[in-house]
């Protein structure tokens, strides 16, 4: 039997779906490609590295293969004072480069031109490592931020940049963002203040070029907790962050945030094992009114996951 083939029907589905894909994917791609990266976009993408989330270099999403963000108040090569201090992004040999450093098209046309002509980002080699920073240039009376390969333009080496900064000024920003994703913080906290009265409490909504090269953006959609895009501008206390992550009820009795004490790992800053069960017993006694003060929050070890997470919050979320 020869049944109807419904050629027009199947073509109609393809045609209509194709038309909607053209409108919703192809047309906006021109807008996305023309977005010029801002300072925020450059800072986020270069401190995050190639990608956050599952990848070849970081299959467990714990922040392997990420660059280090350092704050320099001295020139690593000449030793001259830098005031105000600048941020530099240290890619040790073999660390994969951030997406815009590999594909400068992601920076937007003007920032791409500046970053290649003045910033020499095309001369960086992954196997040798490189130090990047953000510089500013004047184009037709407007100030533009662009990415600069400081290893070429200023002769900053990876080792010199790390030793000049020292541990206190080395921020594990990329690793911290990985832990933000790994722990699912973004199921409750958003990174997107809205165009309502929101901006008076949570700060300005992000600008067009604030995301170039960032992956994943992790805006979040379900806000069970405050927006944290600018949280470090409201509260920059490392001690408060420590108490709040260890047990949010220490600083905010009505908080419903989970405890993240397990991010401290097994040992504290002096290498002594952290006794969580005693801590909890003492805390329970405090909640019952049997103790006047809660127990002390242990100081985290240098390479603890919580250090990276707080570094990211205080450095990136301004």
């Amino acid at each position: 039997m020869a049944f109807q083939n419904y050629r027009w029907g199947t073509a109609g589905i393809g045609g209509m779906f194709g038309l909607s894909m053209t409108i919703t994917l192809f047309f906006p791609s021109f807008d996305f490609r023309s977005a010029e990266s801002t300072w925020v976009g450059l800072d986020k993408s270069m401190s995050n590295g190639r990608t956050i989330g599952f990848s070849y270099e970081d299959p467990t999403v714990t922040g392997q293969g990420k660059p280090l963000t350092v704050i320099l108040n001295k020139d690593p090569k000449t030793g001259a004072t830098i005031d105000p201090p600048v941020r530099a992004y240290v890619y040790r040999p073999g660390t994969p480069f951030a997406s815009p450093l590999n594909h400068p098209d992601n920076l937007g046309p003007t920032v791409k031109r500046l970053s290649i002509d003045k910033g020499k980002i095309d001369q960086a080699v992954k196997a040798q490592g490189a130090v990047f920073t953000i510089n500013h240039a004047d184009v037709n009376g407007e100030e533009w931020a662009y990415a600069e390969n400081a290893s070429v333009t200023r002769g900053w080496t990876v080792d010199a940049a790390l030793s000049t900064a020292g541990d206190a000024n080395t921020k594990y920003v990329g690793r911290g963002k990985s832990i933000y994703i790994h722990e699912g913080c973004w199921w409750c906290h958003t990174l997107l203040p809205e165009h309502t009265q929101d901006w008076q409490v949570f700060g300005t909504p992000p600008y067009l070029g604030d995301f170039n090269g960032e992956m994943p953006t992790a805006f979040g959609s379900d806000r069970k907790a405050p927006d944290i895009l600018h949280v470090a501008s409201r509260n920059s206390s490392r001690e408060w962050m420590m108490m709040h992550f260890f047990n949010p009820r220490l600083v905010q009795p009505n908080s419903i945030m989970p405890r993240f004490d397990y991010l401290w790992g097994r040992v504290d800053v002096n290498g002594n094992p952290i006794d969580f069960s005693t801590w909890r017993k003492e805390y329970t006694a405090y909640r019952k009114g049997e103790r006047p003060y809660p127990p002390e929050v242990p100081e985290y070890a240098r390479n603890a996951e919580i250090r990276a997470l707080i570094d990211w919050v205080l450095t990136s979320l301004k």
């Binding site: 209509m16 894909m21 992956m215 953006t217």
Partner: protein
């Protein structure tokens, strides 16, 4: 067990094996998904409930709940219905029962692996497309494509002149879902970044819901209800209005999820206008189904599958009224990111869609096992646990969302919103736990049906027989 047929010859596998495999898998995933939902809700109400353990942290389990329900329960229930409805509507056999069994097997293995990795925090960090890209590729090429081939080939080999509306939905929605998975996951596959990634995340999230979960559920109702009532569908033409307006309108409003992100303004406006137009398929669907009930409304009380189907269709009315208007800028600024949206998402997935699938799984498992349902009483207990639990959840989250929205625009310190929401968080937990309990009763009922249900004679439908218990 059905595993013995995985390596049997296709012609030796009894018809309905794939349906049964998919059917019981979907019920099990429903129990996993709602159980995790109940556990997560308890943590939102009582934050120190099971605390300080990485594997039981809220952020490790929330996405497992969402994807277990979407890809485990709902999508497997869809596959289950496709395995028996598509051949029945084409007056033919399933193209390959063996392929269907392998799809079900690989689906369980792939989803189990992907969700275990997600639970450990190994994620792409993108909402709804959280599964890492190797698992995405397994889902696309190991699960969705074989399912599509089975359905498309069965439609192509049909022995009827026309194609009934349900099969239009099945064939087109699998195609659009595969496209959505490929495009939506391209940021991970090709390291696309920035706004492109943000937009594609919600392009995926929107299209998975709009081009798969709601339209396929509607297609199922177009089959189940005429079968149960014996009335023909009120109008096949209105069904086609529904189908074509879904393709035209529902595939475009993705950016209405990101109205406060710096996306192009023309795109947001376009999305909002297209989003209101979903009222066309919605009204067409609801009217068509309710008019099909003409003269048989007593079945809404007497027949449990009809009860589930009609409840799902009635829930589609508030669903689409909310959905059409809450995404316009005039309303979205108030409720965006609040519990209202959580309530709306559960109205779509747990309300409208799940009720329709529960009916189809009840109906299909009885048909394919040739066994009458073990206990009507247990099925009714399931129904009432489900509807009361769902309504508790939906109403409490809607109120919580309105409180949160008011807190947002009046600049109330956030902690006061948390305090005000606390009673509703407890209600949400109670509601979710009721749904979970009902589902366990359902599994027991279906297991006993398989073992002890009255045999259905050839040529009869299960719902035509009287209950023996």
């Amino acid at each position: 067990m059905l595993f013995k047929y995985l390596f049997a010859k296709n012609e030796d596998i009894p018809a309905g094996s794939a349906t049964i495999f998919f059917g019981f898998s979907s019920i099990l995933w429903f129990i996993v998904g709602t159980g995790l939902g109940s556990f997560n809700a308890a943590k939102l109400a009582f934050p120190d409930f099971v605390t300080g353990v990485e594997m039981f942290a809220f952020g490790h389990m929330r996405q497992v709940h969402v994807l277990a329900v979407i890809l485990g329960w709902i999508s497997m229930a869809f596959a289950m219905t496709m395995m028996y409805m598509t051949p029945a509507l084409g007056n033919t056999k399933l193209w390959s029962e063996k392929l269907g069994l392998w799809t079900a097997f690989l689906w369980n293995v792939g989803l189990g692996t992907g969700l275990t990795l997600l639970w450990c925090g190994i994620t792409s960090g993108r909402e709804y497309s959280d599964l890492i890209w190797p698992v995405d590729l397994v889902v696309i090429f190991g699960v969705l494509l074989p399912l599509g081939i089975n359905v498309w080939m069965t439609i192509a080999q049909r022995r009827t002149q026309g194609i009934y509306i349900t099969n239009w939905f099945f064939g087109a929605c699998i195609f659009m879902l595969i496209t959505t998975f490929l495009v939506g996951n391209s940021p991970e596959l090709f390291n696309l970044t920035g706004l492109t990634e943000a937009y594609l995340t919600f392009w995926f999230a929107h299209n998975v819901l709009g081009l798969w979960i709601t339209p396929v559920a509607a297609g199922i109702a177009y089959y189940v209800l005429p079968k149960l009532t014996g009335n023909p569908l009120y109008s096949h033409r209105i069904g086609h209005l529904h189908f074509w307006s879904i393709i035209a309108f529902y595939s475009t409003p993705a950016s209405h999820h990101l109205l406060s992100a710096p996306l192009p303004e023309w795109l947001k406006s376009f999305a909002s206008v297209e989003g209101v137009l979903i009222l066309i398929p919605a009204v067409a669907f609801v009217a068509n189904i309710l008019l099909t009930m003409k003269g048989r409304w007593s079945m809404f009380v007497e027949n449990v599958e009809t009860k589930f189907t009609i409840t799902g269709v009635l829930l589609a009315i508030p669903l689409n009224m909310q959905g059409g208007f809450q995404q316009t800028r005039a309303i979205n600024w108030y409720i965006h990111g609040t519990g209202w949206i959580v309530a709306h998402a559960h109205l779509a997935l747990l309300g409208m869609s799940s009720f329709l699938e529960v009916a189809a799984v009840y109906f299909g498992l009885q048909q394919m096992m040739r066994r009458k349902l073990y206990s009507l009483a247990l099925a009714n207990v399931h129904y009432w646990f489900f509807i009361i639990g769902f309504c508790t959840y939906w109403i409490s989250m809607t109120i919580a969302g309105l409180i949160q929205g008011a807190g947002k625009i009046y600049e109330v310190p956030y902690i006061d919103v948390v305090i005000a929401e606390h009673p509703y968080m407890i209600a949400r937990w109670v509601g979710g736990t009721m749904v979970f309990t009902g589902n366990m009763i359902w599994l027991y009922n279906m297991y006993m049906t398989a073992r002890e249900g009255t045999l259905v004679p050839k040529g009869r439908y299960a719902h035509e027989l009287a209950y023996e218990r």
